[in-house]
């Protein structure tokens, strides 16, 4: 419950403060957000599975974000940055879909 409120607080903070993303971070932030969403949905699924572990969640959250950013950075250096970010987004969204499907099966039995 408190983390959910935290999410809303974060969104409100973002809306109120209107942060300008530093230029060097701009290509990586959207990818990092998608990676973080993947970790969050994975966590929600494991809560329903009864195997949620906060340590695993924190580590997977951070590593997801870092790995996604590093992959895109590497792609940028190799000159295939946009293709790489497309690839990362595709893979992460597939995982998000799979996790959401599992959550749906749990809660709705459908």
């Amino acid at each position: 419950m408190i983390p959910a409120i935290g999410l809303i607080v974060g969104i409100l903070l973002g809306l109120i403060l209107h942060p300008t993303v530093p230029l060097w971070l701009q290509p990586y932030l959207p990818i990092a957000v998608v990676a973080a969403l993947d970790a969050v949905f994975g966590a929600l699924r494991s809560v329903l599975d009864g195997i949620f572990n906060d340590r695993i969640f924190v580590i997977s959250f951070l590593s997801n974000v870092v790995v996604a950013a590093v992959i895109v950075f590497l792609g940028d250096q190799l000159g295939v940055g946009s293709q790489m970010s497309t690839g990362v987004v595709v893979v992460l969204s597939m995982r998000i879909f799979a996790n959401v499907a599992a959550i749906r099966r749990h809660l709705l039995k459908a």
Partner: protein
């Protein structure tokens, strides 16, 4: 979302919902604080990413060549506006000077420019002549005229062997069986377009991919563009009294 020690998947939806409800129960612990911090960060990053992309998404996704084109376009527009501003400023200074002769000259110059635009005056100057022998539709012709206007054409005349029509602001085009109709005058192929303006700008404008030359030749027609030092536009539009 407290850590659960029982490692077994939910057998039924009821158990899953129970687990969800239990994890939603507010209680303060180190884990909750950590998770809350992470979620605040996530929310903040999400909104930052969203507001960051909406502002200049078009430019940041554009290729380098597109950006160069946009920059060129802006530089060109700025130069044109600067020149316009200087000219108007000069005209203002002259008029403020109160010299009647200069005021008359300025008024004549303006009347002359307007006559060119309205097509009530014959024109002569350097420019290009375009000959189209086959496969010309009204749409293609309209596109070509727009392209010529964008390239700074001061006067445009469309003609065939016998008839000539001056192109002005309210000129219209329609397809006919043997050619095109320009403001009601039926012209038969081959059709000549005489344009006064900077030929080094006008000619490339018609040769751009998807432009007049491209479209006509794709349909098996032929376009000849000749740059001439002396183009005469004799067709005029009768002056209508308001």
């Amino acid at each position: 979302m407290a850590g659960q020690s029982k490692h077994r998947p939910a057998k039924s939806g009821r158990i899953a919902r129970l687990r969800l409800r239990r994890s939603l129960r507010p209680h303060l612990s180190r884990t909750q604080v950590l998770l809350t911090a992470i979620f605040v960060l996530l929310g903040f990053a999400t909104t930052a990413a969203i507001s960051g992309t909406s502002a200049n998404a078009i430019l940041s996704n554009a290729r380098q060549s597109d950006l160069v084109a946009v920059l060129d376009d802006l530089a060109g527009r700025e130069a044109r506006l600067q020149a316009e501003a200087t000219r108007l400023e000069n005209a203002r200074q002259t008029l403020l000077g109160g010299n009647e002769y200069q005021a008359v000259t300025e008024a004549k110059r303006r009347a002359n420019a307007l006559a060119q635009l309205a097509g009530t005056q014959k024109l002569a100057g350097s420019g290009i002549q375009v000959t189209i022998s086959r496969n010309l539709t009204a749409t293609t012709l309209l596109d070509a005229i727009q392209e010529l206007r964008d390239s700074g054409a001061t006067g445009i005349e469309i003609s065939d062997k016998d008839l000539a029509v001056r192109v002005v602001a309210n000129t219209w085009f329609a397809d006919t069986e043997t050619g095109v109709s320009v403001s009601g005058t039926e012209l038969h192929l081959p059709i000549f377009i005489r344009v006064i303006g900077d030929s080094s700008v006008l000619a490339p404008a018609l040769r751009i991919p998807g432009g007049l030359v491209d479209t006509v030749q794709a349909g098996g027609g032929k376009v000849v563009i000749t740059e001439l030092p002396d183009v005469e536009i004799n067709a005029t539009v009768p002056l209508q009294m308001p």
